[in-house]
Symmetry: C4
Subunit: 200 residues, 4 copies
């Protein structure tokens, strides 16, 4: 049983969720105030960029995992459906953050964003560890050190997201900056230190 159709479906959800983010970027202004309104809308662009990057990172990691995974079972398919359900939810809190970054709704928006990110992180961990523990769905030819290395690299995601979410109870702006930093750090780190053969 191949993994191809799961990868196609997942790629579809990643691509659509990322591309849909732009629907929620909107500016309503009379003609002569459009320039100013476009500048004031910077929180929407920032939220768009961070969430697009988060989905891109998820896609790269999902992709990398399938260099080690070579079969699926029903439970695994539904774990993926659940994980993708959380990823596809991200446009909603992204819109909230873009709209409320500069008003009294910032804390509620940051909490919604953080909870969604935490669920996504947990979903990704469930996806990977279901496949990796006991090498349940791992390719027989895969190097165990490589599998363990991937496992180790995915461990911090959920605790970090949870911590960043809790920070929003005190300071929602810092919480959002922590999520942006996580995505940027991941891109920089894996570009600098990722090996060419490292599942990418």
């Amino acid at each position: 049983m191949s993994t191809a159709r799961l990868e196609t479906f997942a790629d579809g959800v990643f691509a659509i969720a990322a591309t849909l983010l732009i629907i929620d970027v909107s500016v309503h202004a009379e003609g002569d105030e459009l320039g100013r309104a476009l500048l004031d809308a910077w929180p929407q662009y920032a939220a768009y960029a961070v969430s697009f990057l988060v989905i891109g990172v998820m896609w790269v990691n999902h992709h990398a995992a399938f260099t080690q995974i070579n079969r699926v079972d029903r439970t695994f398919l539904f774990i993926n459906v659940g994980f993708l359900m959380s990823v596809a939810f991200l446009p909603f809190p992204t819109r909230l953050v873009g709209e409320h970054l500069q008003d009294d709704g910032e804390q509620a928006a940051a909490l919604a964003y953080g909870i969604t990110m935490t669920v996504i992180s947990l979903g990704f961990a469930a996806f990977w560890f279901y496949a990796a523990i006991g090498r349940r769905l791992i390719d027989e030819r895969a190097d165990q050190r490589r599998v363990t290395g991937i496992s180790r690299s995915y461990l911090p995601g959920a605790p970090y997201s949870l911590a960043a979410t809790l920070v929003a109870l005190r300071n929602p702006t810092v919480s959002l900056v922590l999520f942006a930093a996580m995505a940027i750090f991941y891109v920089v780190e894996s570009s600098l230190f990722g090996r060419a053969d490292e599942g990418a």
Copy 2:
């Protein structure tokens, strides 16, 4: 004649219909009322989750069917177009349920949801039985017991959906719970009892 392009098109519709569901989740509130409004919007999240799961189940089953089917004909393509038309319609009654679960529109919304689900179930049955009866499009190497087993597992879907729809005439909340239960039951049952080689 291969089935690949039909599967690609179907995967696209499944992925898009599921991912579009989030567009209809929306909360409009002033900043300081956002937290409360987000909590009050739980029917929208529940409707999102159930419909995403329903589409995920449809995708898994469609996927499983193609482990037995190895060719297509024109009629089969159009049966699939009709089936996908009903799946792609699901975001509309989902939105209705999310908006009206707590007002006087609940019955109309539940009926719209139920009718759509019944049409989807009938469409899926038409899709499978057109291929399976007389082994019209079934792979010559497929085990007939396996084909019969799939047929048997798909029989209850449409009657169950019709019954749950009729329940909405008396109690729309119960009707909606029955649809949520069906999706969750399917996931749990097939994860627990599905064999690793069972078309998944």
Copy 3:
């Protein structure tokens, strides 16, 4: 040079354009008037179904054409981009028809629908005849009678669409019925008479 990536891109546009149609189906009503409003919205459902079917037919025909075509060139890619641009435009006049079928805007909506359908038909003809004339992009192993048969079957599309559009100048309802009839006729005819090997 293979045709695979063009087919993937086209399948994506077909699947997305069809699935996006549901975004434009909307009913706004207070709870206790929702049932009536849902019934009154039938023109939207009809428009959804006809346009979904039209896109499905386009997908099947595009699919069938690629059983004969086995290479591409730049001009052909851009003809496809233009054709897909017209297909992806269809949700807009579909929305107009769904909204204005029962008011004074029906004629304008029917003309917009008809013009779009005519452009789609011309685009499809350009796509096919660019490939088929002189067998420019046709597989060397393809049977010329089969190619000629496909050419003949695609000839009536654009004149029919143009005629149905002109009918809207006198009677927009009849015009719309003619487009619905074309899609349904195509499905029935090709299901009844299509050979199993006929590019499907």
Copy 4:
């Protein structure tokens, strides 16, 4: 390490971004004024067509590049994510141009469009030159003259876009015409002079 999944993801984003453009085309009018309103909305159709064409050109070029590229690394994946982020942003300034082409917001809209196009052009250049310089990701069998030819053809994109953007400071209409002309020129030129084997 193959390039297939990156191409699938990119094709998804291209197809979705192009198809989403139609969501932003909208006309609100009473029935008897619909005809006039549809005619007055021509800037929206023009913006739709130009942006669809731009995305189509990007897709063809991305496609052509992968006839020379045969492997990926992490940095390259994230360069692609960044490039696709800019492409997926295009529906937003397209909507602004469609809405404000005939009011005082034209200059702001044209600047937003031009800046987005410039970022897209820079992203595409980063994508190609990262792969091509030192033949980092180029297929060993690829002809260096061919690679150099592609590099040369991509050099003018970003400076041209930047220049056209700056023009908007004086005359936004001319700026927008320059972007439309670029897309049309590219299609005509590559159709007339593109060799059949030229990566298409």
